[in-house]
Amino acid sequence: MAFLSYRNVRVAGMSVGVPKHKICNLDAADISKDYDAASFIEVTGVKERRIGELTVSDLAIPAANQLLDELGWEKPSVDGLVVVTQHGDYIVPATSCIIQERLGLSKECMAMDISLGCSGWVYGLSSLVGMMSSGNLRRCLLICGDARRRVEFNDPLFGFAATVTALEYKEGAENICFHLGTDGSGYDAIIIPDGGARNQITPSSFIPQEIDGREYTPLQSRMKGMDVFSFGITTAPKSVKKLAEHFGFDYTSYDYLVLHQANMKMNAMIAKKLKFLPEKVPSSMWNFGNTSSASIPLTIATQLRECCTQGLVRLLCCGFGVGLSWGTVALEVENIIIPDLIEIEE
């Protein structure tokens, strides 16, 4: 059972990098043949999103530089970097290696990628916090997000972003605890069928298929919406409850419930099951869409900026989706550094 608890690590800061360019779904005539833009926005909660030709490292570098600057962290002092992305700059090598170099981090810095989406920030956090907890690593960066894909991608649900979470070793810092889970039987609920080793790229990889009133090629991500929806409304609440039961805390006492931002209706149902009032369930979907592994930190950094930078906030965060994979984390953040949103031009 993957119940983890670590002490002595605190979140020092969080920053967000997004493309400057916005698209409004109301203007998008090609939302779907089956339903109109207004219905789409009502059910999904995505009015606007940021997209562009920028890769994850293009978005992460300025965000990381700004955060390191405001934290007063010298580059050589960073000894760990984890990048969570499913659309790295290259298929090979890992994007964390690219970012190590572009950021100017030391060669003595550990760097690795984790290939997860919706659950990615929670998983990434668990791996870094785990490595830092006994003091082996002192200052680390967790970079999460998906941006430019391998082929053209303009799904109205998704937006591009990269977030940087700075973690530091601090004796006595409050426990951070996790519950993590996996169900590979749902591997094709959210999938890019071609381009991996299983289905190599062939000419047919470029032929569009109609799914749910929109066209997708086998090189573009497609989702079994209904299955992901029913998975989300059952698994997310269960994970939170299991975490609370295992570590013996009252989850309703937390200040905010921050859910992966994939569908407003789904999140509303999850929140209701966990008895969190809407004002305690912040959302970034309206302006940013589904930003994959960046969604939870992006929501914290944009919607909870004031309280997190000026006091102590207890957060319950749950990421769930592609894999199928899910993770819940319970943590405190206190007086952390959150720079202004970094908007990057192409």
Partner: protein
């Protein structure tokens, strides 16, 4: 669990379709308004009203509203 109640709950997910157009034998995926978005509301409704988790295949394999009712009932 009553079929009549279920039909009412099902029909409530539609905005532009008259309730009396939706009966036990209605092939619901042929309704004009039917879409994957409505499918999500039906899944939500089954979860909320009956504490039953419907999946994509359940929607795909049901033809009539009554088929769906039977499916939900069997999972209760």
């Amino acid at each position: 669990m009553e079929l009549k109640d279920f039909i009412e709950n099902f029909a409530a997910q539609f905005d532009d379709t008259d309730a009396n157009e939706i009966k036990a034998e209605t092939v619901f995926k042929e309704l004009d308004e039917w879409s994957s978005l409505i499918a999500l509301s039906v899944i939500a409704m089954a979860d909320e009203e009956y504490e039953v988790t419907l999946k994509g295949d359940d929607i795909r394999n049901a033809n009539t509203v009554e088929d769906l009712f039977n499916n939900v009932k069997s999972k209760m």
